[in-house]
Amino acid sequence: MPTSRPSLTGTRIRARRNLRGMRQADLARAVGVSPSYLNLIEHNRRKVGATLLASLAEALGVSVDALTDDVDGKLVAGARAAAQRSEARAQELERIEEFTGRFPGWAGVLAETQARVERLERVVEQLNDRMTHDPYMGEALHEIISAVTSVQSTASILSESGAIEPEWQARFHHNILQDSTRLADGAVALVNYLDSEKIEETGLAAPQEEVEAWLERHGFHLPDIEGGAPDARAMVRGQAELASEASRLLAQQWIARFAADAAALPMAPLMQALTREGLAPEVLASAFGVPFDQVLRRLALLPAPALAQAGLPPMGLVICDLSGTLLFRRPVEGFALPRFGGACPLWPLYQALITPYRPIRRALVTAGQAGRRVMAYAYASHPAPPGLDAPMIVQSTMLIAADAVPGPYSPQPVGASCRTCAQAACPARREPSILSSVGDGLA
């Protein structure tokens, strides 16, 4: 997407004038310029000063904002995103700014529709991810269907089979009672699980989700970990999101890890280095003498205002183990993270597993959601020293810096998971996408 574009104020002035049915000469007279000069303005060949712009806005009965570029920036972006999805012809894409200038109302409808499509796609991703990979949901549904099958088949025997020996009859009555109880219990458990309010109360969410919900409430920053050993047990006590013992234990482990990160990269010197160096994890790792993945974790859990003050973008984080299972997720706007495993194998997160201890930097562009560009940094390492006879334990960490792709990088297209990825002809595709118009072919 271009970083600058020609002013289209003139186009908008012309569009507004036409909407009002004014002649060019009449508007020129109303604002005290010649018709030929207004003509040059309307064709974007002359810039408009603030005073003249205010006069034009008044004469046209609109606000100054309605005639300037800023108000339409989102319209252009939205319309462009919609056009790119529909594979509009290149020459029409070139005229998109003219379109938004001349038909701001229609462009608004298009941008709004595009935004709605993106919102719905995110919902589809989340629901699909839940249905596909949520082990509790799959197990609960299987349990319910099995109980229903048994009840239906047994009840059918009792009602249709005529005379049945008393022994069989008693056994089938017992089975129906057993399965109907199982069915009722399963249904209640599933309803509780699907009721998000009850997830916290009943502890039916996965421990990892509870920890993430807790961290999310704190903006993924825990002030208590700065400057000293925090009392992890006290920090997790009485926290509504941490409903289960498992999640409280997990939260304590993460607190210990994040506190170690904070001790290795103290806030004040880190912020100074970030302000000076920008987003350069490799420089920070070298300057502070710490592992690359420690820098990635630390950056992703800095408070948002501090990042903004240092001129850095919002950041997400994802950590997985050697099986690819996601252990930790800090979401960032524009880059969907699956709730459980089954993410995009093209993520540098997984590529790093092939080459542990080698930092990776990749520009990425997301498929299907207006091509959001992010910069990803990944690094895999052993969380603990490997033993001689013990299996190798490896964890990979990926930092996702939103909208931080400088010009020269050619981004790698990636998705969230195959089912919801719109990337056609992907060599790593595991299954067809449920989104329309995606290539059918599996690699």
Partner: protein, 122 residues
């Protein structure tokens, strides 16, 4: 003597219902909840027909089907797959592996009987 059917199903109440309706229908029914044990049995003494659950605790139904089709004595064994997983992808996978019939749970008893008769040619 009636034809023999083996039911591999880990839900005891479902297998009991299947045993009852098939027995009443003239079949000699054997039930096994353990997939590996059932495979051993199938290799030496295959029945006339197999009713196979997909989600078994010890081995996936697809793996059982794959091994059956690779076995000399079971490559043509009629297999009725009964599963709670009725997604089209599962059905397609079962067909690729050579299933004879694919039915989803919950099922109607009459449909199961009709299917086994058709598969056994009776």
């Amino acid at each position: 003597m009636g034809k023999r059917v083996l039911v591999i199903e880990d839900e005891p109440n479902i297998s009991e219902a299947l045993r009852f309706i098939l027995t009443r229908n003239g079949w000699m029914v054997e039930v096994n909840a353990d997939g590996h044990a059932a495979l051993d049995k199938l290799a030496v003494d295959p029945p006339d027909l197999l009713i196979l659950d997909l989600m078994l605790p010890d081995i996936h139904g697809f793996e059982i089907l794959r091994r059956l089709r690779a076995g000399t004595r079971t490559s043509d064994l009629p297999v009725l797959m009964l599963t709670a997983k009725g997604q089209s992808a599962d059905r397609a996978q079962a067909e690729r592996l050579g299933v004879t019939r694919f039915m989803t749970k919950p099922f109607a008893n009459a449909d199961v009987l009709a299917a086994v008769h058709e598969m056994a040619g009776t």
